[in-house]
Amino acid sequence: MSEDKPTMRGIHVSKSFGDGTGRTTPLRDVTLELHRGQLAVLMGPSGSGKSTLLAILSGLLEPDAGQVLVMDDGVERNIWNMTRAEREDYRLRQAGFIFQGYNLFPSLTARQQLEIVLRWGVGTPVREARKRADEILSLLGLGNKGHMFPAQMSGGEKQRVAIGRALIKNPKFCFADEPTSALDWAYGEQVIELLRAAAHERGATILVVSHDNRILPYVDVSYHLNEGRLVMDEATTGSHAGIEAESWRSTP
């Protein structure tokens, strides 16, 4: 399920916002490791800096201090030593994102929401992009819904399309910010199971930010962030380890 060598390391990461009396420091000297094939969750009270840490680890927000080291084609690199273009290229090759709102283009079909990532990102020809999009949609239980627009889909279906968009590049890393909070738990459970399968079957390193305790049984490791400090919760590591990940063919 996970190998020993970490795929991502955040080392002494710190971040502050604002000045003077308005200054806040959501991250104080945070260090963590993530591994291949691992589903990790980052929890904490509202405003505790979970999303800030996610943004820094995923290359979207620069820290004030610290390093974010990633394994990139066998070489460990600090993403915050890269140029903006290199970071963009790294995200294109390695990173997938899922956000709380589905953020699907209202005028594109489910299939096109996935195609566009390949066609615009790496210039994949339309036929191949369509084929891969259909494959991913089938794995997500949306094989017969590729032609549908977001307005015609349920919340759970939309989030699954968003997951498909995140994973169609077969990224090594996937960052999810509150992926279940906009959904009924029935759908939310499906989403977490899909992410877990993506980690275990595809070997992705997945970091989920959530305040939803119900997902804890599904994750391999959980971290807790409070007042800028990060603590790994030993008790939840691999509590679902004995349970085989469900196939991607979840019920619609």
Binding site: A55, S58, F99, V117
Partner: protein
């Protein structure tokens, strides 16, 4: 390009203001220019509605209605050129019209031969009307000018340059710009504008070429032979020259051009705002694409392609609208001409404006930051 078009169709209400703004600009430009062209085509009417190929007049004559007398002996200059059919005289000059009940106005006396093969008689003068013009001091005017000239119809009399004239017939759709056209015979015109036309002079000498293909060559030949004391034009070039003179010398062209430019600016602002708003409405979706590493220029390109389609649809709406409004104007007696080159030029300008609007709307793309999705 497929996604851009699909988005435009799917969210057509969002993009409709932009399309209408482009259409508005296109219609404004086309109609303004069409009005100008229609308006100033009136000034070249004596050229466009007659049969002459060559117009010989005073040196550097600017427009057909501004000719000064040339000696009648110049006729032999044309007659001596092989390939030129027998030339003839033609007179045109402003004159003073005195109304029967007092008051006066400006008019444009146009005198020509009246025979069937006459080069200077406008096509609206039917053989019957030309027959009537053989009456000494008989004149024909456009029926829409009756009120302006203070007369009621055929048979009425008035004075031109203090000479009594009688209306022997009426024509239609022969409007003028400065003063109403007054058609008459060559002899009558000599009487009426004697004050500006010395003896043995005429305003122009007209000729037709046996072979239409020789017109340009013969005109050049005459210009070379007689460079100083007369000007020689083909009818086509003289028509353009006359119209362009009025277009550039009067402020009407400037005023309408200014209005067209304002219309273009308004169109650009609305189109740009439409595209800006549409892009920002999808800012989160674009932000995800940027988070996924898709280059920002790719998103910018999508916005530009959208602006192109908005422009194209705007043009498609503007063309029939321009024609419809032009027809409406003609019902009110206003001539609007929409030649193909004008419509093509308008399409290019409005499409360019739409794409420029897209470039301006790109400031929206610059504002999209993936990290904002996490806040």
């Amino acid at each position: 390009m497929g996604y851009a078009l699909q988005t435009l169709f799917h969210e057509r209400q969002r993009y409709l203001p932009g399309v209408l703004a482009v259409a508005f600009s296109g219609v404004l430009i086309a109609l303004q220019c069409g009005l100008l062209i229609g308006l100033f085509s009136i000034t070249s009417l004596p050229i466009d509605h007659t049969r002459a190929d060559l117009w010989v007049g005073s040196p550097q004559v600017l427009s057909v209605d501004l000719g000064r007398p040339v000696p009648e002996k110049f006729l032999s200059r044309l007659a001596s050129i092989p390939g030129v059919e027998p030339p003839e005289f033609y007179n045109q000059a402003f004159a003073n019209w005195t109304k029967p009940n007092g008051g006066s106005d400006l008019c444009m006396v146009v005198g020509s031969r009246l025979e069937e093969d006459a080069l200077g008689a406008v096509s609206e003068l039917t053989p019957e009307l030309r027959e009537k013009l053989t009456e000494p001091n008989g004149i024909i005017i456009d029926e829409s000018e009756l009120d302006r000239l203070g007369v009621k119809g055929v048979g009425d009399t008035a004075e031109i340059n203090k000479q009594k004239v009688r209306i022997v017939g009426l024509v239609k759709d022969v409007k003028s710009l400065a003063g109403p056209y007054v058609f008459c015979s060559l002899e009558t015109s000599r009487n009426l504008i004697a004050i500006v036309l010395p003896k043995h002079h005429s305003t122009y000498i007209l000729a037709k070429c046996k072979n239409p293909a020789d017109v340009e060559r013969i005109a050049s030949e005459l210009r070379e032979l007689y460079p100083d004391d007369m000007s020689v034009f083909t009818s086509e070039k003289f028509s353009i020259r006359s119209r362009m003179h009025w277009l550039t010398k009067t402020k009407a062209g400037v005023a309408l051009g200014y209005a067209a430019l304002l219309g273009l600016l308004v169109g650009m602002v609305v189109t740009s705002q439409t595209l800006y708003a549409a892009t920002m409405a999808s800012a989160r979706e674009y932000a995800i694409l940027l988070a996924l590493g898709i280059p920002r220029w790719r998103v910018s390109w999508a916005v530009l392609v959208q602006s192109f389609w908005v422009g194209l649809f705007g043009i498609v709406v503007s063309i029939p609208t321009s024609f419809a409004l032009g027809e409406l104007a003609s019902l009110g007696g206003i001539k609007v001409r929409l030649p193909e080159w004008l419509l093509g030029g308008t399409a290019i300008i409005t499409l360019g404006m739409a794409v420029l609007s897209g470039l301006w709307a790109l400031r929206s793309v610059r504002q999209i930051e993936p990290v904002n999705l996490l806040r």
